[in-house]
């Protein structure tokens, strides 16, 4: 277990900037998720930490010491690759014993540890098989056990669940979390699935195009996204965004003016409002239903208002409204978020004074 730090780390591939001035500090035993779209530099960040890639600039520190020049084999990092990367020429047991081969652990002791870790991830019956004889979920467990057997300082998981089916993903999500809690190992999970990140991690690092957009608890990212990108990437169905302007203390879209609470100079802004926070009521913003999407437990409606399209959720299983119904949308005005269009940053302390 170690305290991990990245200090303005960058990685360039010729003209491509895979990671751009990343700053990050992990506490001992913390479970952190890196969340971002494909190609944003998540895997590259992991490989920088494991020592597979060398950073173009910046420092990587374990327990305060700079380890840029330490070989991967000396970093004591366990990594589960996206493809699991099991050794096809060895049995599961040999796979598990491989990391201990290069340490001073005696062979009986190594065997005992392998059995113990196999029990932890529940693959005791598979020890004599070869990786090609395992299902995807079993391979994933073996890869996890192999990464854990030498008690790593840092456990890195590169989209470990992306090759599994939906039910198995749910089980493994819980399993990984249980194992991490039991061993208290500092863990970084890479994923592009926001549900995975929010359910498993203590903190989420949201990345886009090689830059960190926001670091915070799942709750924080959901309620107080710092940037438009984070607001759209976290939360499902995605947040409602409506472009407009601040004019003399009110939010203006076309002819419509809605009063603001909080002060802001005139600027182009985007209004953000989560679908879960909107409901239908007696009073509120006049709108017309344009789409109805039943999703099983709840129904996703789309409504056209004077200022734009709003999507919102109704918890009842039966549609209460039909297409082209005229309704009034209600929301707590203080739930509205505002982002500056130019920079994409959230404007602190600004929200609506009324939603109608």
């Amino acid at each position: 277990m170690a305290q991990i730090e990245l200090r303005s780390v960058s990685k360039h591939w010729g003209p491509t900037v895979a990671v751009d001035g990343m700053n990050l500090a992990l506490e001992n035993g913390e479970f952190v998720a890196i969340l971002g779209p494909s190609g944003c530099g998540k895997s590259t960040t992991l490989f920088l930490l494991a020592g597979i890639y060398a950073p173009t600039s910046g420092d990587i520190c374990f327990d305060g010491a700079r380890i840029n020049d330490v070989e991967p084999r000396d970093r004591n990092v366990g990594i589960v690759f996206q493809s699991y990367a099991l050794y096809p020429n060895m049995t599961v047991l040999k796979n598990l014993l491989f990391p201990l081969r290069f340490t001073s652990v005696k062979s009986e002791e190594a065997l005992r540890q392998a059995k113990a870790i196999a029990e932890l991830v529940q693959i005791e019956e598979l020890l004599e098989r070869h990786p090609s004889q395992l299902s995807g979920g079993q391979q994933q467990r073996v890869a996890l056990a192999r990464a854990l057997i030498k008690k790593p300082n840092l456990l890195l998981l590169d989209e470990p669940l992306s090759n599994l089916d939906a039910t198995l993903r749910l089980t493994m999500r819980g399993e990984i979390k249980r194992i991490q809690r039991e061993l208290r190992v500092t863990t970084i999970l890479v994923t592009h699935d926001q549900v995975e990140a929010t359910t498993m991690a203590d903190r989420i690092i949201c990345m886009n195009a090689g830059r960190v957009e926001q670091i915070g608890t799942p709750e924080n990212l959901y309620r107080k996204p710092d940037r438009t990108f984070v607001a759209t990437f976290v939360g499902s169905p995605p947040i409602n965004l409506i472009d407009g302007h601040v004019r003399n203390g009110s939010f203006a879209v076309g002819q419509k003016r809605i009063p603001l609470s909080g002060s802001c100079r005139d600027a182009d802004v985007t209004l953000g409002l989560r679908p879960e926070l909107i409901s239908v009521a007696e009073t509120g913003l006049p709108s017309e239903i344009t789409n109805i999407e039943p999703m099983g437990r709840e129904i996703l409606y789309t409504a056209q208002s004077e200022i734009g399209l709003f999507r919102f959720l109704e918890a009842t299983p039966q549609p209460r409204m039909a297409l082209e119904d005229r309704v009034r949308l209600h929301a707590n005005p203080e739930d509205a978020l505002f982002f500056e269009q130019e920079t994409g940053s959230r404007i602190e302390g600004l929200s609506l004074a009324a939603f109608s």
Partner: protein, 351 residues
């Protein structure tokens, strides 16, 4: 408009018949064209066990082939129709027994081992023609055998180990002039090595390896290298890099990762080029004759040539027996390892 209902059963039956007919035609065709290829092999085998000094009894030849060819065709049919290994083995054993009995009945009296006396008699030529004929220089066959083995095995060892290291390096490292290097490897394949016989002779002469086995070993190693490097590069390209990286984060050095994780995954490639390389060295004739002046060393190919040469007076039985002895090692090697050779096209040759 009503859609005509189809008679699915009739359609299925028809396509089954067509498939069976096509298979039958294909198998017959392959059998017919393989007879001229397989027949000489049986001739040589039969001659080596039946010919008496000088002549060949063609009646014996035809009778023996009349037994062996149907036996082989019967086995091919059995192999294609039987699916389980145990039944195939049983069919093979039964057919061998039948063929043995038939051979004993038809040509039993004409079979003998006299033509294989060269295996135990070191003074073959002297016994035949009197001591003066070959100047006492013609060796015992085992000397040629072990020389051939030395040439084939050591050149194979060199080219396989060099090709493996080079193939790995080209596959994994990006160095200056990498693509130029790859292209030049292919260009080398354009020149047939025989075109270079005279320069090669001169080089070997100057470095003082003329008339030693080291000469052909060196030349054979160098000739096959470009192609082998290319094949091994293809095999290494097929090994995912993250398995190797995983080994390195698991505590292995690059060399240990190569040795324990990467190398076992290209095993079939190594076996394939080893077989190819060994057979190449075993059969080599041009350079072993070009790089000696006189009879400084004998290998199997020169031995066979000498036995078949006029100097001896042509003894078909002896020539056939030596041929059978000569082809045995490569034949066995090929039979046991041919499944690795077929993988050459799968993992092997691609840029």
């Amino acid at each position: 408009m009503a859609v005509a209902t189809r008679d699915w059963n009739a359609l299925a039956r028809r396509s089954r018949y067509i498939r069976q007919f096509q298979n039958a035609v294909l198998i017959s065709f392959l059998t017919v064209i393989s007879i001229p290829v397989v027949l000489p092999f049986f001739w040589v085998l039969t001659i080596s066990f039946s010919a008496r000094t000088g002549g060949v009894e063609s009646a014996v030849l035809w009778r023996a082939c009349g037994v062996l060819v149907p036996a082989v065709i019967a086995y091919v049919v059995a192999h294609l129709t039987l699916k389980s290994v145990r039944r195939r083995l049983f069919a093979a054993a039964a057919l061998t027994l039948l063929a043995m009995i038939a051979l004993t009945v038809t040509v039993g009296n004409d079979l003998h081992l006299n033509n294989y006396r060269f295996l135990v008699n070191p003074n073959l030529v002297e016994d035949l023609r009197g001591a003066a004929t070959a100047g006492g220089q013609f060796p015992w066959v085992w000397e040629a055998f072990f020389n051939s083995l030395a040439v084939a095995a050591s050149s194979t060892l060199f080219k396989v180990s060099i090709a493996t290291c080079c193939g790995y390096y080209i596959s994994r490292y990006n160095f200056l002039g990498r693509s130029a290097y790859l292209q030049s490897l292919l260009i080398l394949e354009v020149f047939h090595p025989w075109m270079l016989t005279i320069p090669i002779f001169l080089v070997i002469f100057w470095i003082g390896l003329l008339n030693t086995l080291a000469g052909p070993i060196l030349v054979l190693t160098v000739i096959d290298l470009p192609f082998f490097i290319f094949i091994m590069k293809g095999f290494f390209d097929a090994v995912p890099w993250d398995v190797e990286m995983s080994a390195m984060t698991d505590g292995a050095s690059r060399r240990q990762a190569f040795w324990h994780v990467v190398l076992p995954q290209v095993r079939s490639g190594i076996i394939a080029i080893s077989v190819l390389g060994f057979i190449r060295g075993w059969e080599e004739y041009v350079f072993v004759t070009a790089l000696r002046t006189g009879n400084s060393y004998w290998v199997m190919s020169t031995y066979l040539y000498y036995v078949a040469d006029d100097v001896m007076g042509v003894d078909y039985g002896l020539v056939a027996a030596v041929s059978v002895f000569y082809m045995m090692p490569s034949l066995l090697l090929y039979m046991f390892l041919q499944r690795y050779l077929t993988q050459l096209t799968l993992g092997g040759i691609k840029g």
